[in-house]
């Protein structure tokens, strides 16, 4: 009798449902109903939740055939903190700092989306100066977020990337200093208020900001010089993990990942909010939709954000940064109804949907997180590539687990 290649105990002792599912899929593929007949050239590997390059606690159950990936099952929920449920037990005002913690690399933008939704629900219009300040901090946050994205992506490819990470974080530090001067915090800002922002810009901040902005384009050039012309880097990026435009539509991919495939979806233009219609900037598009284009689009977007912030600093009007009429935001109770506002986060459309029953607490709150939606295409793009490619591809998607799990 030939020795069974997989002990039946592997199946019954599989630690959880995801691995059992992976085994089941292998069995279906080989159309065997019994583990005895299973060929063992496939290996099921658990990547994550503690893995150096899943950028958080994303877990991928990967079925390997040698170095080739046959199947991927993403498992999420390791960072679930009941963010949406928490909203139902807090007033609208109390919930602002919690929004920060959903997609923590772009907390300013997340707050912005939430605050805009509540404003739409309650019929509040923020002051004009506050609108400009919102754009400024939002775009600075976008630069900082893309710096992390690009730095960690290159770091996944090589020790060379460690240099990239340090260069990117060195420059991100300056942006965080600016945001700290504005809000008092470096990561969880709690800065947006209904009808405005919490503090006005401190004295001399505009000059400081201009100083940082003048420096940034050179820094971005520096990132590009480091890797763009490197043949090994290009070899690992070009033509890998292609997403077609049909995929973008089918999977509702948004943000830089969609723009890298040439789909011009940018809510700042397609569904404009705040003062974006008055500003001059381009939507950065890729042509091939591969790993390299996703990296390149982010680099280009940093340049565009620098342009936007400079314009805002020039156009910055005088006036209050909060509505004088809204005396007690704590007791804000929007009329019954629901509102959805999509906001262009560094990773895509960050939508906030709120249902109000007229009380001081949201009846239901739901986030449409770009990372969560973009993650859905993982099994499709990762199937059939090598492990090393998979790392490059998953790095190029720029996942933030705080957003996915909420």
């Amino acid at each position: 009798m030939p020795e069974p290649l997989v002990e039946p105990s592997i199946f019954s002792e599989a630690p959880d449902e995801a691995i059992r599912l992976a085994i089941r899929r292998v069995m279906d593929e080989q159309s065997v109903s019994d583990l005895e007949g299973l060929e063992l050239d496939t290996v099921i590997v658990n990547m994550g939740p503690q893995h150096p390059s899943t950028h958080g606690v994303l877990r991928l159950v990967v079925t390997l055939d040698g170095e080739l990936i046959r199947d991927v099952i993403p498992v999420i929920g390791y960072l679930h903190r009941c963010k949406e449920k928490l909203a139902e037990k807090r007033t609208y005002y109390q919930y602002i700092p919690i929004v920060d913690r959903t997609e923590y690399l772009a907390s300013m933008n997340c707050e912005w989306g939430y605050v805009m939704t509540v404003e739409k629900l309650a019929g509040i219009r923020p002051t004009r100066r506050a609108e400009f300040i919102r754009v400024i901090v939002g775009e600075l946050m976008r630069i900082a977020s893309h710096q992390v994205a690009v730095g960690t992506f290159v770091a996944d490819l090589s020790p060379l990337g460690t240099a990239m990470v340090f260069y990117a974080f060195r420059d991100r530090e300056k942006i965080l200093d600016l945001l700290e001067a504005v809000s008092g915090a470096r990561m969880m800002f709690n800065y947006f208020r209904f009808g405005g922002v919490r503090f006005d810009l401190p004295d001399g901040w505009v000059e400081k900001c201009r100083h940082v902005l003048a420096d940034l384009p050179q820094r971005i050039d520096e990132y590009e010089n480091l890797v763009n012309d490197n043949a090994i880097f290009l070899q690992r990026c070009i033509g890998k993990g292609v997403i077609t435009q049909q995929d973008v539509v089918d999977y509702a991919i948004t943000g830089p990942n969609a723009r890298a495939s040439g789909v011009a979806t940018d809510l700042r233009r397609t569904r404009p909010y705040s003062v974006y219609p008055e500003l001059d900037f381009d939507i950065c598009l890729g042509e091939h939709g591969d790993v390299y284009d996703r990296y390149k689009v982010r680099i280009d977007e940093m340049r565009q954000s620098v342009k936007i912030v400079s314009q805002c600093l020039d156009m910055l009007p005088k006036g209050p940064v909060q509505l004088g009429t809204l005396r007690a935001p704590y007791t804000l109770a929007p009329p019954p109804g629901s509102a959805y506002v999509g906001q262009e986060n560094p990773r895509g459309e960050y939508g906030t949907y709120i249902v109000s029953d007229g009380s001081r607490y949201p009846y239901r709150l739901k986030f449409r997180d770009p990372c969560f939606i973009n993650l859905q295409i993982f099994p499709k793009v990762l199937r059939g590539v090598k492990i090393a490619d998979a790392i490059a591809i998953s790095g190029s998607f720029d996942m933030v687990l705080g957003g996915i799990d909420r």
Binding site: S158, Y167, V242, T270
Partner: protein, 391 residues
């Protein structure tokens, strides 16, 4: 008593003991120094400080790390093959220690001047791959296994271009002994001047042998967690770690001996104790550490290759080039008038051609590939294009 007679009888024994002690000392000191050296150099290149708190300029950082490592729990996974799991970190040092037997550190000191030194080098340095394979297999971990298999395939593949380069050295010098290689270089000039292309081939292959970036696939941290050493903790891991860093120095010592004149330098006979010249040790160390610096530099500046790229680089580029190189060198030595000059001319032309063309050809191919790659923007209907949005 006949002290002289006793000394002459026991001298080989004493020398052997001292040679062994030196071999171990070099491995451990080199590892500790290199770890710090690399961390500080990388920090310098990456615009940060690096470890600078433990002792002056962080000098004791590695020692502190070593003490920490020894103090950790000696852990082994439940399903690991206990014997092999223990054996692998014990074996890993064999290569680094015993290869020093044939290296002439200075004038008048070689552990044992084997007349097959060059072959011994290749044979003994491949012990590392054995312990990587054994360790990866015994860990009962899939990451370890993939890392070990990658390591095995890589080191076996890159050994061939390395041997091909060594054959050239042997052909030029006319001997397999490392002392003869150094003596030859003293008589003429450094071998790197005659055979720069061979040196390049050897250097690339030796980086791959060391499992260092851009060839650090066996432990590619972003893919395989820590590769073959994933399940190792405490001093078992420490042995792998020490070996990797000691390997930098050992390999640089070999390269210095083969191509950069070994211990050769000015004032060789200034200070001599018991027939062993001391000043050349300094030159040897300086040359070695310049090469170690180059290793760190290369690691920082190049992204990691992929497995298929790594293999095709070895089998499709390095090995054919190595074979062609051997043929040309042999022909020149046999038939060319003034063969040393012709050899140097050929070597430099080949080097410049390789360095100048390789990257360009690679990038040209990538550009062509990029141009041929289908654009996803074409042929899609009913999806917002840039023209529709710009109003």
């Amino acid at each position: 008593m006949d002290w002289g007679g006793i000394w002459s009888a026991s001298e080989p024994f004493v020398r052997a003991v001292v040679a062994i002690l030196i071999a171990y000392a070099v491995v451990f000191v080199a590892a500790l120094v290199n770890i710090l050296f690399e961390r500080r150099t990388l920090a310098f290149m990456q615009d940060r400080l690096g470890p600078n708190r433990t002792g002056p300029q962080g000098a004791f950082q590695s020692i502190a790390d070593a003490i920490k490592m020894m103090g950790k729990e000696d852990f082994s996974p439940a399903k690991a093959d206990k014997i092999l799991f223990t054996l692998a970190p014990l074996m890993v040092m064999i290569g680094a220690v015993s290869v020093q037997l044939v290296i002439p550190y200075t004038k008048g000191w070689t552990g044992q001047d084997l007349n097959v030194g060059l072959i011994y080098l290749v044979a003994i340095t491949s012990f590392t791959v054995l312990s990587i394979l054994v360790g990866g297999w015994a860990s009962h971990n899939k990451y370890s296994l993939v890392g070990a298999l990658r390591g095995g395939a890589q080191m076996v593949s890159y050994e061939i271009p390395m041997i091909l380069a060594l054959l050239v050295v042997g052909a030029i010098v006319g001997s397999w002994s490392l002392n003869a290689v150094v003596a030859w270089q003293q008589h003429y000039h450094w071998l790197v001047l005659y055979a720069p292309f061979t040196f390049l081939l050897f250097y690339i292959a030796s980086i791959a042998e060391l499992n260092r970036g851009p060839f650090d696939l066996p432990e590619g941290e972003s893919e395989l967690v820590a590769g073959y050493s994933t399940e190792y903790a405490a001093m078992r891991f420490g042995m792998f770690y020490l070996n990797e860093y000691a390997g930098m120095t050992i390999m640089s010592m070999i390269i210095v001996t083969l191509f950069f004149g070994g211990w050769e330098g000015p004032l060789a006979d200034l200070l001599t104790v018991g027939g062993v010249a001391l000043v050349p040790i300094l030159w040897f160390v300086i040359k070695t550490y310049l090469l170690v610096f180059a290793l760190v530099w290369v690691r920082l500046s190049l992204p990691r290759l992929q497995v298929d790229q790594l293999m095709s680089f070895a089998w499709k580029i390095l090995i054919p080039l190595g074979l062609a190189n051997i043929g040309v060198v042999a022909a020149i030595i046999l038939w060319a008038p003034q063969w040393k000059l012709s050899l140097a001319a050929y070597g430099w032309v080949a080097l410049l051609l390789f360095v100048g063309l390789f990257d360009r050809v690679l990038r040209w191919r990538l550009r062509r590939q990029r141009a041929r790659q289908p654009k996803v923007t074409e042929g899609a209907v009913g999806i917002a294009s840039s023209a529709a949005v710009s109003e």
